[in-house]
Amino acid sequence: MARIHSRKGYKLKQIIDFKIAEINPDGRDVLLHQGIPKGVEVPERIRVLLAEGVDIFRRTAQPKGVIEEVSLNQFENTFVGEGKNIRDVILERIYPKSDHLALYVLTMGEDVSSRIEKMFNEGDYALGSMLDAVASLAADKASEVFEEFYRDYLDSEEKLNPGEFVLSYSPGYCGWHISGQKKLFDRLKPGLIGVTLNDSYLMTPLKSVSGVLVGGNKEIHIFDNNFEYCKECKHESCLDRMKRIQTI
C-alpha cells in the first residue's frame, strides 16, 4: 500500500497500488469459497489447483484503487443514485450518523478477469473457478485494506475519535441499488485505474469493487439484520463484521 500523500486540512483523494502480499487470500478461505469446509482432508489434485490458481493470480493481478473523501451532502446525492433504492436501506440509517465518508473503487485488473473468462471458454473450469475464487477473495480483502488505509489517514490527520471505526458498504447489497454506482463513478472517475461502468451499472473488469467507507462511532455500524432483504440473504458477512468491531 502506498503512503498517504494528502496534505493536512485537505480532503483525501488518491490512487493506490495494492501489494499482492497484503490482499493475497488465505488458502483455506479459497477452499471454503469452493465449498470445501475447513478441517477436511483436501485431495492432492485440489491442492495442486489451489497452488496454480494462487500463482496465476500473483503473476497477473494488477490491484489498484482510487479513493476520495466526500461530504455528507455529496454522499447523499451518490446514495440516492437513480432513485431505485429499496425503501428501507441499512446504509440510510448509518451514514447520516457518520463523521467521515470516502468513496472508493478498486480492481484486481483486466488481466486476471480475462484469464478467468478464457479458462471457462476453453473448458478449464476447475482452474478458472479456483482463480475466480482467489480473485474474489482478494478483492474483498482489498476493501478491508482500504478500510484500514482510511482509518490510518483519519488517524494521521487527528480526525479519528476514540471508539470510531471505518467499514465499507457497496451498491448492489443490503438494499442499496446497483444504480448507485453511476454517480459514484461520475465523481471518482475510476477510468484512471481502468474500471468502467456499463449501461446496467456493472463494472469491467469483473473483479472490481466499489463502495463507500463510512467512519464513525462503531455503534452506528451495528444493526438487527431483520430487514426484508435479509431474509433472502445467505452472505451474512454483516454479522461477521459486526462481531469483529464489537470485540475491538
Binding site: G123, Y125, Y173
Partner: protein, 212 residues
C-alpha cells in the same frame, strides 16, 4: 463393456487426456458413438453428479470431471453430424440483468451438459425479454436464472410474468438459483423450482422435463 467402464472411471478421476485417449480407442473399435456417450461419458458424469449431491466430493473435482467429459465429447461430436447430438432437452440459462456474477450459472451449465442437456447460455446481465425470446426461438423447455445481487432479483419475476403474457408458462418451466434466492422467493414469484446448488439444479431440471 470394459472400455466404456474405463472411460467412466477415468472421467470420474478428472483425467481429461486419458479420457480423450480411451474415447479415441472406443471409436477405433467401432463402438457406436451413442454407446460411448451414454455408457462412458454420461455414465461417469452421473456418478460425479450423485457423489457431489451427497457431498462425497468437492466442486473442483466436479469441474475436473467436466473438463474430461468435454475432452471425450469433442471427439464424438463429428460422429453425430448426420444425426444431431442426442439431448435430454434444451435449457436456456443466464445471469439476470444487472448482475455479472456468473460462476454459479456456469457450474449449473457444465453439470446440465454433463447430464446430457443442450444448454443455451445467454451469459450475464441478461434482460428478462432475452430469456423469453431465447426460450421461444430455441424451443427450450426450461429457463434457468441466476443472481447474486439482491437488487437484481425482480428480473426473475419479470421473466415469469413475460412467460405468462406469451402463454408459455406451461411449455417453459423456470428454475432459479444464486445466493439471495430461496424456496420461498421462488414460490412468491411463481417460479417452478429453486436449485440450492448445481447438483440440485440438475436434479430439478430433470424433474421439470420429465427425464427423471
Amino acid at each position: 463393456m470394459e472400455l466404456l467402464d474405463r472411460i467412466s472411471s477415468t472421467l470420474q478421476k478428472g483425467e481429461d487426456e486419458q479420457v480423450a485417449e480411451l474415447t479415441k480407442q472406443a471409436i477405433d473399435e467401432n463402438i457406436p458413438a451413442q454407446d460411448i456417450l451414454d455408457n462412458g461419458l454420461i455414465a461417469g458424469m452421473n456418478v460425479i453428479g450423485e457423489q457431489f449431491r451427497k457431498h462425497e466430493i468437492f466442486l473442483p473435482e466436479v469441474l475436473l470431471a467436466a473438463k474430461a467429459m468435454y475432452a471425450g465429447m469433442d471427439l464424438l461430436k463429428p460422429l453425430f453430424i448426420k444425426e444431431k447430438v442426442p439431448t435430454q432437452g434444451k435449457v436456456v440459462i443466464g445471469t439476470v440483468h444487472g448482475d455479472l456474477h456468473d460462476l454459479g450459472k456456469n457450474l449449473v451449465g457444465i453439470m446440465l451438459k454433463g447430464a446430457g442437456f443442450d444448454v443455451i447460455d445467454l451469459g450475464k446481465d441478461v434482460p428478462a425479454e432475452k430469456f423469453v425470446e431465447a426460450a421461444k426461438t430455441e424451443d427450450a423447455g426450461v429457463i434457468g436464472m441466476s443472481a447474486l445481487l439482491t437488487t437484481t432479483m425482480p428480473v426473475m419475476k419479470k421473466v415469469v410474468e413475460l412467460l405468462k403474457e406469451n402463454g408459455l408458462e406451461d411449455a417453459v418451466k423456470t428454475i432459479i438459483g444464486g445466493a439471495p434466492a430461496s424456496e420461498d422467493f421462488a414460490d412468491e414469484i411463481g417460479v417452478n423450482a429453486y436449485g440450492f446448488d448445481a447438483g440440485k439444479a440438475v436434479e430439478l431440471v430433470k424433474e421439470l422435463t420429465g427425464k427423471k
